[in-house]
Symmetry: C2
Subunit: 216 residues, 2 copies
């Protein structure tokens, strides 16, 4: 659990994002957790994105709900945590909540559940991703952004939006988040190699894999 004591928007208070021309054809757009009005301003400057992912939080859900609902109409993927999902939909059941959020616009909803993993819901699949069993979590700061980056990074690299590839993307997101929280600040991410990422991806597989046997 976290409680928001005070939110200081600082430079975001009067920020007017201008996307450099060379970035305007970006196919995979990741809208970080900022004012939904700013998210929309960013999006308006992108030419025909292939996929738009957006993050949000309690602050915007409570104070800018209408603006957020407008922005959600333009998102393909919404990434929220459990409490944000419940706050946004007023529905405690996460599967129902995901379906309500899909009604707001995104065709893909991801609910992050911290130590309980993540849930991916699309029109055609539900995927339950495990959490990496960390005994020591040094710093949860940045876990959500690491997840979003790993998720959309995999999609941008493979350019495949099938359910099977979305599932892999959730695991890459979870992989990046697990490295993030293992160390303080960005220490867990700065020395990462592709090999280390692949190794952890495989650990996620081992963690959740089981098979079926026939019995007489």
């Amino acid at each position: 659990m976290r409680d928001t004591i005070k939110t200081e928007l600082n430079v975001f208070e009067s920020f007017d994002p201008v996307i450099p021309p060379t970035y305007r054809k970006t196919p995979y757009v990741c809208l970080g957790n900022i004012d939904p009005v700013l998210q929309l301003k960013v999006l308006d400057q992108i030419e025909k994105p292939r996929l738009v992912l957006g993050d949000t939080m309690n602050f915007w859900i409570e104070r800018k709900r209408d603006e957020l609902l407008e922005t959600l109409k333009r998102m393909d993927v919404l990434v929220v945590n459990e409490s944000e999902a419940r706050l946004l939909t007023k529905e405690p059941n996460l599967i129902k909540a995901a379906k309500i959020m899909m009604g707001f616009g995104p065709s893909i909803v991801i609910v992050k559940k911290g130590e309980h993993g993540a849930l991916l819901v699309t029109e055609s699949t539900i995927f339950s991703a495990p959490a990496y069993p960390l005994e020591n979590i040094h710093d949860p700061t940045g876990a959500g952004d690491s997840f979003a980056g790993g998720f959309i990074g995999w999609l941008a690299r493979t350019d495949d939006l099938s359910d099977e590839n979305l599932k892999r993307a959730v695991i890459y997101g979870s992989t990046m988040a697990s490295f993030c929280v293992e160390e303080f600040g960005i220490a867990g991410l700065q020395d990462l190699s592709y090999l280390k990422v692949q190794d952890r991806f495989r650990e996620f597989r081992e963690l959740s894999r089981f098979d079926e046997v026939e019995i007489a």
Copy 2:
């Protein structure tokens, strides 16, 4: 969350279990959630069980901790939920808590996490089982007993205590619990067939399965 308002032990208050002779060679023993002193009395009447599974709850953890710790020494599998794991070990991290509980006796610990699935921890593996994505939970009563029954039933039927088979047993346990909570009382369990169980087992696989692809 549940709160215990009052516990009426009723017949268990002065119960002195006597196991019929024909049951004394039972290889797979499931000690339901009763007074740990009674669990031990049951166990003392069983001849060389192959596997002893035990359940417990906050009432015994708080009031009969010493007796419970004695009984735990004789269990091979401890099945608890998240809050019981934390209450018993005073450790919030579930992986650490599982390892502490293994120090109490059981070589296999299962932490049930309701809508978040279950965690199996043995000396050589950690397995994260998904929860069945139920939109409507009609009656959670009996979910824990259904889980324990499905789990030990699979082991008794296959007589295989490998990590791979324990993982399957966790999924069979989760399968039985999902049928239990879907309907009121025992309605979800009484018309079950092996085919229905197998179908849901496969749904659990689909729910958590993902593969790896090589990229250039």
